[in-house]
Symmetry: C2
Subunit: 386 residues, 2 copies
């Protein structure tokens, strides 16, 4: 997403370190057994004695385990640092916050760039086609490993929200609440189309070589184009107009197709930056998992949710045209029809899909209150809803 | 655009033939003198004795001079065949209809793929950077050549609409009316961004070789990606949902990133088809001309239109998010403030931007009535408004 990060050192979780969790194997939805598996994760705050204050944060397409604080010697805070820390939405004085890089990713967790122990070379396209449910099943192994029987909440936006819905459907007994943000039960053809064009851009790059590029130059140009497409869909017509207008850059370059407009320079910059930190094959695998995901598993989402005791807070944003509010309303409707205790808020924002990273105040207000209620309910009843 | 063509032979203009118009040179907006210039054009219907029934149709990004009828031995009708013919919106029993391929294009008119007489090789990037006004100035030479002093109307959608606005601003004395459809005074950053990503996709293709690909393989993969991005923006979330849903294709292929969803197959097919008929460098030049265009020339559009006697019909479409209705309303507002006689219609359609090609009935009704009024006014007054 297109947020420019700033850190407020007063309420930062400070210096953090990623950890690795290795386990032998994971049975994938396809039936295939994949292993060994590594998940890289970070935690912030302390797990309380009865392990009732754990919140799992799930990241979006280009995210990673580094959700908050700083890595030693680095100055770029985690991707959701505005939300995680003392006194923030995920108040680390109260909650134990976990975030892991997704299976199939490229920030430490097993993915196509990882070395296949059978060959001693990167998996590339030998990496199995994974699903959002596989990603969540791997997270469940991590949560079990941390000794947490019941998560206070699972919270995430965009693809993170797809994982949230997968948790809700597959592990309702292991959750007290969920917060799916700016997400959908299943991708629309338009969402699939944008991802597909990104994949095509990567595969069109001569350096991609059917995914076997790890011993040579990466398909950076293709990946940059994919990222640029993404960035347009993360913003709104209005937020772009406000940020760039038709201002031109004084580049002094004479090339005919130079980036004249500021918006062009911005997209090129974002695209070029992304390729330094992301693996093109991971982009293919993860977007495919997003497109294939259907939280309702082909049934009606209402039926799937019958009997669920999990509490739900759904958040969407007015100007988000990539994951439009009507998709969040579909989640809310199914929850309500299934008798699930659900709160919905559509936040007025001009930021587009990026709003889930940028509307700090509004989201903090909603999430803070919701989590407090969940924790309080637990403390009062011992096991709320069980 | 993404229309699948059918032809109704009963009211077709029949077999048509493209013609070429060559002239020595054109002074470009940049000050550069470019020549020789070829414009390829087609005409339908007959020019009346007092040359008062000529209508110029301007085409969109991927269009050409072949707007109606059939070429000998071919079975694909012109791109606006539903609108041009006996009894249609542009009734060829009444009007003399002209359509020319734009300067910078690749369907016969001078463009980057044309041979530079100085070198005997294709211009490639030595072709000058052209503007929408240059395109229109070249069309004006053609209209003069045809001996038409005053066009009854200039009509076009999308980039065609930008040309319409350029005509309105630059040649108000040579027009009785204009019909800008699904267009804008100037591109928003979002519109620029989509074009820019398309250009980046082309230039990322290893075959592009700084535009010098005419003696080798074309940058087809990059151009296909550009076209796929375009197609998403031409449709709407709703029209895609209606056309494709989440239906999967039974391809039987085993490749991991095959086109599983119908929408993916459709985009790949459209992308692959486009590269057979379009030149990648033309795509760069034309999209850049669109992005740089500002009908108001940096002033207020209202000021630019002061004193104009031309009659205006503005048409937009409800689900068009690429050229949203608010942009058409800006045209209307400026016209009204300048005292220009203007009619506006926002057509309810779910087709998105493609609607200007597909909403035949509604558009026909509007255009037919408008043109009839223009012609009648001329016949009654001799020179309406002059």
């Amino acid at each position: 997403m297109s947020k420019e990060k700033k850190i407020n050192k007063n309420n930062s979780v400070g210096i953090v370190k990623a950890q690795g969790f290795n386990f032998e194997s994971l049975k994938l939805e396809s039936g295939e057994k994949f292993g060994p598996v590594t998940l890289v994760y970070e935690t912030y705050g302390c797990l309380n004695k009865d392990k009732s204050n754990a919140v799992l944060i799930t990241h979006a397409l280009s995210g990673d385990a580094h959700a908050a604080g700083l890595h030693e010697g680095k100055d770029n805070p985690g991707w959701w640092d505005d939300f995680i820390g003392p006194g923030k939405a995920f108040d680390t004085d109260k909650y134990f916050v976990i975030c892991s890089n997704v299976l199939g990713g490229c920030k430490g967790s097993s993915g196509p760039a990882s070395v296949n122990p059978k060959t001693g070379k990167p998996y590339a396209l030998d990496f199995p086609l994974i699903t959002i449910n596989d990603i969540v099943n791997a997270q469940k192994c991590l949560v079990d490993h941390l000794g947490i029987e019941k998560l206070l909440s699972v919270v995430g936006g965009s693809m993170g929200g797809q994982q949230v819905l997968s948790w809700l459907v597959n592990y309702p007994q292991s959750l007290r609440s969920v917060v799916p943000i700016a997400t959908t039960i299943k991708h629309s053809p338009q969402q699939i189309a944008f991802n597909e064009v990104g994949r095509q851009a990567i595969m069109a790059d001569a350096h991609w070589r059917s995914g076997n590029y790890y011993d040579g130059p990466a398909p950076s140009k293709g990946l940059a184009v994919a990222r640029m497409i993404g960035h347009i869909t993360y913003m709104s017509d209005k937020s772009m107009a406000e940020k760039f207008g038709r201002a031109k850059k004084g580049t002094g370059e004479s090339f005919k197709f130079t980036a004249d407009f500021e918006v062009e320079g911005y997209l090129r910059y974002r695209g070029d930056n992304f390729v330094k930190r992301f693996d093109a094959n991971s982009y293919l695998y993860i977007t495919k998992a997003m497109d294939n995901f259907d939280a309702s598993g082909g049934r009606s989402f209402e039926d799937v949710l019958q009997g669920t005791q999990v509490k739900v807070l759904v958040i969407s944003f007015k100007s988000d045209w990539l994951y439009p509010a009507y998709q969040s309303k579909e989640i809310v409707k199914a929850c309500k029809l299934a008798g699930v205790e659900t709160t919905y808020c559509e936040i007025a924002s001009t930021y587009g899909h990026d709003a889930f990273l940028l509307e700090v105040e509004e989201e903090t207000h909603l999430i803070k209150h919701f989590l407090k209620k969940m924790l309080y309910a637990y403390e009062v009843t011992g096991d709320y809803g069980a």
